[in-house]
């Protein structure tokens, strides 16, 4: 038995620490030599930075973890609760992956032992709420993923303490509304994912707080209106996904100042027309949206009111997604025509 990394320290907490040490060293050797891992054991690997432990059924969740653990994944179990003191003894933990369990509740103290945590993945659990003070000492947390839980509402106070937050994923929950001031304490937020919820309206101050939001995901909700002020606090926004909503109305100044936009997705909504000035407010008409735009699957009424849009389309047509799915629903004479063709012949 050889140790590949003489600097790796391994101190275990718990009664059977000697046996655990041998067990873990054995696992380390097995994985380090590239032998097919035993599915009944957690995957263990080690580097100069610390140990990484990854457990899925049929492996058992370990009772104790190496003190230098920096990465821990416990996924696909049917856990409804985490064991008390689950993270005791791993003060250097940086990443915690708990996806695809059935967690219903989290103890308010569960993250207290891990102040260095950078990533917390809680995708696909059964959380309906978060306990107050959960992130009290989580000033290092950059990425929080709550995708696929059962959150019906949110309280801004649940997220207190997340000073360094960069990526917040609240997609695939049951959110019908959002509280005011949700993001006001997240100056470094880069990505906000609220996709696939049931949001009908958004608080007008939703985007106040972050200084450099890059990506905003609102696809798959029930939004009917895009208001004037929503995007105003984020002129450097680069990716905006509004597809698969019920948008029938977009305010003329909704995109004012978005000069860095690389992708705009308005597909699969209820847009029949757009106000004059909407597109010209998207920075220079000649500026390339680097990645493109999609306005397909809307019931466009191809009349004079779209003159603005036609000009913009022709100038940006090589960045247009799904040209064949972007068609006129009216007037009768133009029903079924490709919008781009109508724009080019205008």
């Amino acid at each position: 038995m050889s140790s590949r990394n003489p600097e790796r320290k391994q101190r275990l907490v718990g009664q059977d620490s000697h046996l655990s040490r041998i067990f873990l060293l054995l696992l380390f050797v097995v994985s380090a030599q590239g032998v097919t891992p035993n599915p009944e054991a957690c995957l263990v690997s080690s580097s100069v930075n610390g140990s990484s432990i990854s457990c899925q059924p049929p492996a058992q969740i370990p009772h104790s973890l190496p003190a230098d653990t920096i990465f821990l994944a416990v996924e696909f179990f049917n856990l409804t609760q985490l064991p008390a003191d689950f993270l005791q003894g791993v003060p250097n933990l940086q990443e915690l992956h708990l996806s695809s369990n059935r967690l219903e509740d989290l103890s308010p103290k569960f993250l207290l032992p891990v102040p260095q945590l950078k990533v917390l993945d809680l995708t696909r659990n059964s959380l309906t709420r978060l306990p107050p003070g959960l992130f009290r000492i989580s000033a290092a947390l950059c990425t929080l993923v709550l995708k696929g839980n059962q959150l019906k509402f949110l309280e801004a106070s649940w997220l207190h303490g997340l000073k360094a937050l960069r990526h917040l994923d609240l997609s695939e929950n049951n959110l019908h509304s959002l509280p005011p001031g949700l993001l006001e304490n997240f100056p470094d937020l880069l990505t906000l994912d609220l996709s696939n919820n049931y949001l009908q309206t958004l608080p007008p101050d939703l985007l106040r707080g972050p200084l450099n939001l890059e990506r905003l995901h609102l696809e798959g909700n029930r939004l009917r209106v895009l208001g004037e002020g929503l995007l105003a606090p984020q002129p450097k926004l680069r990716y905006l996904f509004l597809n698969d909503n019920r948008l029938a109305s977009v305010a003329a100044g909704a995109f004012r100042g978005l000069q860095k936009l690389d992708m705009l997705d308005l597909s699969n909504n209820l847009l029949t027309t757009v106000p004059t000035g909407l597109w010209t407010s998207l920075g220079k008409a000649a500026r390339n949206l680097k990645d493109g735009f999609d306005i397909s699957s809307n019931p466009w009424i191809c009349d004079q009111n779209l003159a603005d849009l036609y000009r913009w389309l022709v100038a940006n047509k090589d960045k247009m997604f799904f040209r064949n799915h972007t068609r006129c629903s009216g007037p009768e004479a133009l029903k079924g025509q490709r919008l781009l063709a109508v724009a080019e012949s205008h």
Binding site: S45, Q56, H97, T123, K147, H167, F321
Partner: protein, 105 residues
Amino acid sequence: MADAEAGKKIFIQKCAQCHTVEKGGKHKTGPNLWGLFGRKTGQAPGFSYTEANKNKGIIWGEQTLMEYLENPKKYIPGTKMIFAGLKKKSEREDLIEYLKQATSS
């Protein structure tokens, strides 16, 4: 039939936050994907992979990507990639078609 245009949109929406595809593109949270097809797992130069990814030992191609992208954490237990997967077969096909084109010359 796989639609690379649809695949490109899926990539921008669900992958581009962490990955680039173009030759010489930078590593982000995840590796640049140029040269992916025909390459063994965990081999993009200059990216710090998990042991789990490096040791998976398969070659990336249509079949392996179809399986992987449905449930990445099942295919590579121990991966640090946070992505629940694409359930719809057609979406995976579209994305793979796009990747085929975008990650090679």
